[in-house]
């Protein structure tokens, strides 16, 4: 059977994803969290695991550099990639939310908003659907700062516990979407390597039970 390349997002869900893969009977013996290696193979050499930045996983899969990927729904939504999204791995659960200052008026009353986000596409789509005109500012981190210093009226970000939001004196104004880790697949790989991919899916499904 031909070898599949699996792109895995580095970061908060990497370890739990590896645990799930192990439970599904897919082992990468060389892998340990401290390792700086970026490429691993399973003993049967049917799977090659590559570690990439979370925001890049969809690109790897859409361009076919990887056949399958494991990545958060947040990155899938932001990339807008044309891929299959076949399984919810139920890891790294959190939400996309809108947050603002305590005295920010409700969103429905806004005429025009300035929104700061690591996810400009998600933010723009959400407000467009609501019929609210927005100007979106793309930031790469510390997004909570933007309303505090008057750079933006509100932010769109992923919220896990809500602690960061609270600690910075912000409040959740609306929830956009639930987020969790997903298994994504390149459409061409799915057509030309159907059996190998189906096997990985079946194994993961069994691992989830």
């Amino acid at each position: 059977m031909e070898q599949l390349t699996l792109a895995l997002a580095k970061g908060r869900t990497a370890e739990s994803t590896i645990e799930l893969l192990n439970k599904a009977g897919i082992e990468f013996p060389d892998f340990h969290t401290k390792s700086r290696k970026l490429v691993f193979s399973n003993p049967e050499e049917t799977l090659k695991l590559i570690f990439v930045k979370a925001v890049d996983v969809c690109t790897y899969v859409e361009t076919g550099a990887a056949d399958v990927g494991v990545v958060g729904k947040d990155n899938i939504l932001e990339s807008g990639a044309d891929i299959y999204e076949l399984l919810d791995l139920k890891l790294g659960k959190c939400k996309f939310s809108v947050a603002g200052l305590q005295d920010t008026p409700p969103l429905e009353e806004a005429k025009k908003l300035v929104v700061a986000s690591k996810y400009p596409r998600v933010a723009t789509n959400y407000f467009n659907q609501k019929g609210i005109a927005v100007e979106t500012i793309k930031l790469n981190g510390s997004v909570e700062l933007a309303p505090l210093i008057g750079m933006a009226d509100c932010i769109v970000d992923i919220v896990e516990t809500g602690n960061t939001i609270k600690e910075n004196g912000l409040k959740i104004m609306a929830d956009i979407d639930d987020i969790s880790t997903r298994l994504i697949v390149n459409k061409s790989s799915f057509a030309t390597k159907t059996e190998s991919i189906q096997q990985v899916i079946d194994q993961l499904k069994a691992g989830l039970e």
């Binding site: 076919g64 299959y84 919810d88 390149n186």
Partner: protein, 405 residues
């Protein structure tokens, strides 16, 4: 004593030759199925696309303004102008018109990398719908991929009516429908379920919509499953149509390359019946897209059913150039001569060119390298023709021509 007419490693020349060979292979195959080449204009009036519903998004087109302020677009596709032109011809639909084309098409962005231009090689067959015609188009696509020595490929076949019919049973806004389409295109089962629950969809319809993305795989198995969820007569007919086409494809002996995918929804809304796309190893996007568009001609006041497909030439090159290309001799004949025999040598070269042979003439003193099918040496004392291991003397030009032509 070799004449090098071009450096085989020159990337520009090589890329062009590889591309031309690929295109020639496709053209030959299309011709063998009785298709004839056509060409459409590079510039089209903007209104042609603006007024034709369900085609290319107006933002996607490359527009120009002529000196009278009229807006033109650079040919965004071939199907629409070809259909318009056939609609104007008043043809007899029982007599099929078989066209093919190799054309550059232009869009604002094809794949997010800023590329605005690509080459499509495709066919259109105008005339009455039948399972045989549909199967012919698909078999031709498969045969073309075989001609290109593509080792592993799959054609995914779906039906435009199947999802459209299921969707017509839903009470949702257009935006919500688009969202559902995206979920189905992504086979995103995680979100389809909650979507259907949110919209209080009837059990029977919900079951159908939920099954559509999973109806993927071997045709007989998938068709059997699909029959159980068909909601109405139109969906049954769609399945019957696919079954009929598949039967003919089996007769063509190409069934191994076919999978059915009812989750296939083309972004071109004009497709009315069977739709398909092709994937090959090492290329992430479809190299082939097509389908039946029986109602497009109605927008040009005619009723001519049609089916067509287009190969993406650049995508095919990405997946095939490594093994498909054979390096041909760059010229047919090289004439190498002593300076004193220049006049005779140039006369021979001229005759050979006249006879259609690609010929180069060079003085022996130049000591060039040849990538030539045959070589003629002309010295003070003799004239020799070298073809492979075969070496022959000749005296008169007449004898030479008798030998090689």
């Amino acid at each position: 004593m070799e004449v090098q007419t071009y450096d085989p490693k020159d990337p520009n020349i090589r890329a062009y030759k590889v591309r031309e060979q690929l295109i020639q292979t496709m053209k030959t195959r299309f011709s063998l199925y009785g298709y004839h080449q056509i060409r459409t204009s590079t510039f089209e009036p903007y209104e042609l696309y603006f007024n034709t519903a369900g085609t290319i998004h107006t933002d996607e087109m490359v527009k120009l303004i002529d000196r009278n302020g009229k807006v033109l677009v650079l040919r965004p596709d071939v199907t629409i102008p070809a259909t318009r032109s056939v609609a104007a011809q008043n043809i007899d639909p029982t007599n099929h018109l078989r066209y093919f084309y190799v054309s550059d098409v232009y869009r604002q962005s094809f794949d997010g990398n800023g590329s605005k231009e690509k080459t499509q090689a495709g066919i259109e067959c105008f005339g009455e719908k039948s399972a045989e015609i549909d199967a012919e188009a698909i078999a031709l696509a498969i045969q073309t991929l075989k001609d290109l020595d593509v080792p592993n490929f799959k054609i995914e076949i779906g039906h435009a009516d199947f999802f459209k019919q299921a969707a017509s049973e839903l009470e949702v806004t257009n935006e919500e429908l688009e969202q559902l389409k995206r979920f189905i295109q992504a086979k995103n089962m995680t979100e389809i379920g909650p979507f259907l629950e949110r919209h209080n969809v009837k059990q029977e319809v919900a079951d159908a919509v939920r099954s559509i993305p999973l109806l993927y795989g071997k045709p007989n198995t998938v068709l059997a499953k699909a029959k159980q969820i068909a909601l109405n007569e139109t969906m049954q007919q769609a399945l019957q149509n696919l079954e009929d086409v598949y039967e003919v494809l089996e007769a063509y002996g190409v069934a191994e390359h076919i999978v059915l995918d009812f989750g296939l929804i083309n972004h071109m809304d004009y497709y009315s019946d069977i739709i398909f796309q092709g994937f090959i190893d090492n290329v992430a996007k479809p190299v082939l897209m097509g389908g039946r568009y029986d109602h497009l001609s109605e927008q040009f006041a005619a009723q001519i059913p049609a089916i067509g497909f287009a190969f993406e030439v650049e995508a095919l090159l990405e997946g095939t150039s490594d093994y498909a290309f054979e390096e041909p001799a760059s010229v047919d004949m090289t004439v190498i001569y002593e300076k004193t025999k220049q006049k005779e040598a140039l006369a021979i070269a001229a005759e050979l060119r006249e006879a259609g042979l690609r010929t180069i003439a060079v003085p022996a003193a130049d000591q060039v390298k040849a990538n030539s099918a045959s070589i003629i040496q002309i010295t003070e004392s003799e004239q020799i023709l070298i073809s492979g291991n075969d070496v022959q003397k000749f005296t008169a030009l007449r004898d030479l021509k008798a030998e090689i032509l």
